[in-house]
Assembly symmetry: C2
Homo-oligomer: 543 residues x 2
């Protein structure tokens, strides 16, 4: 590592304002956004989003306090994160009401289908992973005789191996800011085994889940509103939120619902050129594969076109591959973008590619552990040093999450004591998810609802053809029609789903995202509740 | 929680550039910083910082790749984080060389005194904390008979309590974005017991260590370069780094070395007015108590003045209280700013106060667990909703860190099985740190070195009166004189310390920060190595 460009502290400090004239106006974007048309470009269909809230922008009771909505960072006001937004806040309130006053609602529990959080809905963790974590948390039991009776032999062995990779066996110490080197070696070996192409542990940055890694790349690439990030629509709202927080511009490209959420490079090209014609400089392309919320798994040939497109257009390919283990259909397979680009003969000098992985998804579903990594390739050493510097400001990601990330990339192998149990647990979860993905058939049976299959990931994203009367009622309630539907659904059934407007959708179309994560024995009841609700909703609003 | 201001996604999207004229120029600050005087205000002494690196700003070999130092976010280039900077990179290289080629340097190990990372230097974790963490990681052993033999009864009981606070006992699920409610209840009770004033669990935001909490507040308060944050000089460089990354202005106030790093409100007032006269809008005051890198513990009376100052000037008080357990002198005591402000009769409507706490410091030193919280008070509900929204974009902090944060605020009590061991471990660590803080006497014995006592925290910050000849030699080597000294020290002894220029210091003065964390049996050898080095350095450069 070379020396970082220095003098930073100095230039940060207050100075006489020669530069006053070049400061941007205080809240440029917030003053603009309200006067903007709902969309923007003639060549792109108009997007639909929830109308701005009219909730009080001033709180007179707090007027003596120095921080107000008027003087905070306007980028925060612009940011939205529907997955934990309004509907979830309502759900939490209903849950409290049910607890305080059972029978106060026409359901007895809240079913959180809003978020990919498998263990909150009863999925059990993989035993081997938890054994290793527990042993690394309290290594002094490792050589006690009782431990043999409580833990599998390979978990004990793996814990020793991991401890030996940590300087001083100190699981309570800050690690290298990219993560413990030995764990990165393990992860690199796992990537290599997956792809058949080499991986370099120095390219791995371990992070507290994938989200901080995405933020880090957005922070790196976005200097101003002129910097654009191409994102699929519908998209996972982490991307729109992160772009908003970093002050960039989201350049949408549309997935084609009619062809199973197909990703056409002609659409990418069109949107890229449209953006450039408006003075936007597109820096990166986000691809989520398998798709969230859309569940499609990209064909290898399609991936090659995407790689070629990024290479030719000078875009960083930001590959969200956190659902790489979640593929449910026999005719599709996950291929990493790294493997695809290497198979095309493209190496470090040809394509800038960042792949995100997380311990929260897959069959492991360890959301609460906040483990993940990004593999950064095709980024020059001096730029990578800057990424390292940003990582170093937060010192390191949590060590349990780091250990878990190494475990998911290197699970038990044939012959290990845990192997059989591990396979049974893994296959049990994945085959059950595959069965649960078939809920789409029930959705397709509803009046005015069409739903593509979930080839992968953890979600269904049905389209609801809402009657005009419902749309008018939503308008009157100052809410988006799909949010109106989702709120009604929650109030009637306790089922929490996220309105399509939180993800973006072709204007005039309405969707919701629903996870396939409730346990299988609950699915029939959910389908019944949803079916009954939908029927009565349509009866109320049918034109 | 009310609805978030919406319409964000919409205004993020690419639009025809009516607003082109109000975009700020692409890299305003980077183009300015190089032409700026080293400092800035006639009323403030000039600060010293390491001169800008002249390392290559272009890498011709990577020219085909789309990301270069010229087109990344210039705020990242401005950011510096000395604690893991250049000297540490050199240390890592020397360590590798020692490993590959023992005897290649005049020392046989690297002593990392650069960072407050106790367990990396041999400090053991508190047994009770680790027992509870291990049991929560693998709850299925909780009711096995062998577990009774391996774990203390109160750790088992505590693990059950914690699991019962987690919906579905799912330690692998995302939690509420502020952290698990039951754990926040425990923390609030701990704060209340500490201060004697009520604490509200809804004011607690659990985070992955204190750093993300600091970033969140900077992100909230900083909209542009015009927003200033008052920071002590010397300061912990997380603050300067975070202000740089969010594009604000650091407004320095100077601690008075001569009076044991005293914090005078007259100095605060002077700097505040100076900043305002330059068009800067100071939003917040950072106070680090006990001090980092300076080790002073504020007197309660002084704290009252600071609270009064913030209240009158409309500043948010950002209180870094992560060293609250680290006080080593009988004549000083830690008082939280919350307690001090409440004792003055100031409540929610009077003072905006954010207190940061971490599991990384204290006697626990669990840096790798990344646990911490901020307690946010005197912030109106609508603004707090925005903080919640930002927290929700990253879903939640890691659950083990959350659990540990609850444990440090609610350790074993008299009568618990673990109590005796817990006290012995805690007292052993704190009394040893108090003894190690006396290394300052050895530093004061060195020619031209003066060092205030460390009343608290984990650092000494000696001042070195460097000879002119050394300053000239540093200039010739294009480095700051203190960095020159620290580099020489590392190369000669393997001891890693951080140059004062990374923290800020009164111009013309030179310091370094050194932790008091090496184990006691190593201290005599460290003192000898340091003394020998310093003598030979002075012999070489004495004027």
């Amino acid at each position: 590592m070379r020396k970082f460009a220095s003098g930073g502290l100095r230039s940060l400090l207050i100075h006489s304002f020669q530069q006053k004239h070049i400061l941007r106006p205080h809240h440029p974007s917030s003053s603009l956004s309200s006067s903007l048309p709902r969309f923007l470009s003639s060549s792109t269909p108009v997007l639909d989003f929830t109308p701005p809230s009219t909730s009080s922008m001033a709180d007179p009771s707090a007027s003596k306090l120095p921080v107000t909505l008027q003087n905070i960072n306007p980028k925060i006001l612009k940011c939205e994160y529907a997955v934990r937004g309004e509907i979830v806040t309502l759900a939490q309130r209903l849950q409290e009401e049910l607890l305080a006053n059972p029978g106060s609602h026409p359901f007895d529990e809240i079913l959180y289908c809003n978020i990919g959080n498998p263990q909150s809905l009863g999925q059990h963790p993989i035993t081997f992973f938890r054994e290793v974590l527990a042993l690394c948390d309290h290594p002094s039991i490792l050589d006690k005789s009782e431990t043999q009776g409580l833990f599998s032999a390979d978990a004990i062995e793996r814990a020793w191996q991991i401890l030996d990779q940590i300087p001083g066996r100190a699981t309570g110490a800050y690690s290298h800011s990219q993560g413990i080197k030995g764990l990165r070696d393990t992860i690199a070996a796992g990537i290599e085994a997956r792809d058949g192409y080499p991986a370099d542990p120095n390219d791995i940055f371990l992070t507290d889940g994938a989200s901080p890694a995405v933020h880090m790349m957005m922070q790196l690439l976005i200097s101003s509103e002129q910097d654009g990030i191409l994102c699929p629509i519908p998209q996972y709202p982490l991307y729109s939120a992160s772009i908003a927080l970093h002050g960039g511009t989201l350049v949408p490209y549309f997935l084609d619902e009619a062809s199973g959420w197909g990703l056409e490079t002609s659409e990418l090209k069109k949107q890229l050129e449209d953006a450039r014609s408006k003075g936007i400089n597109p820096r990166a392309l986000v691809v989520i594969n398998p798709g969230n919320p859309t569940g499609q798994v990209l064909a290898e040939d399609n991936q090659r076109q995407i790689v070629e497109f990024c290479k030719q257009e000078g875009l960083v390919l930001l590959a969200d591959e956190v659902y790489q283990e979640n593929v449910y259909v026999p005719d599709k397979e996950f291929h990493s973008f790294k493997k695809v680009s290497r198979s095309m003969g493209y190496g470090e000098k040809d394509i800038s590619l960042v792949s995100f992985q997380s311990v929260s998804k897959g069959y492991y579903g360890e959301c609460g552990k906040r483990g993940g990594y990004m593999e950064v390739t095709g980024i020059s050493p001096d730029v990578r040093e800057q990424i390292y510097k940003v990582a170093s400001v937060n010192l390191c990601s949590n060590i349990s999450g780091q250990i878990l990330a190494s475990l998911v990339m290197s699970p038990p192998k044939v012959g290990d004591e845990s192997y059989e149990l591990y396979c049974a647990e893994k296959d049990g979860i994945l085959s059950s998810l595959a069965r649960r993905a078939k809920v789409k058939d029930a959705l397709n049976n509803l009046e005015g609802v069409t739903c593509n299959r979930a080839e992968g990931a953890m979600y269904l994203f049905p389209r609801i053809n809402l009657p005009q009367k419902a749309i008018k009622a939503a308008e009157a309630a100052n809410t988006a029609p799909d949010a109106f539907y989702c709120r009604r659904l929650l109030n009637a059934t306790g089922i929490v789903v996220v309105p399509g407007s939180g993800f973006g959708q072709v204007p005039g179309t309405w969707h919701f995202r629903c996870t396939i994560l409730p346990q299988e024995d609950k699915i029939p009841a959910i389908v019944t509740r949803l079916t009954d609700f939908h029927k009565s909703f349509m009866d109320e609003f049918r034109d």
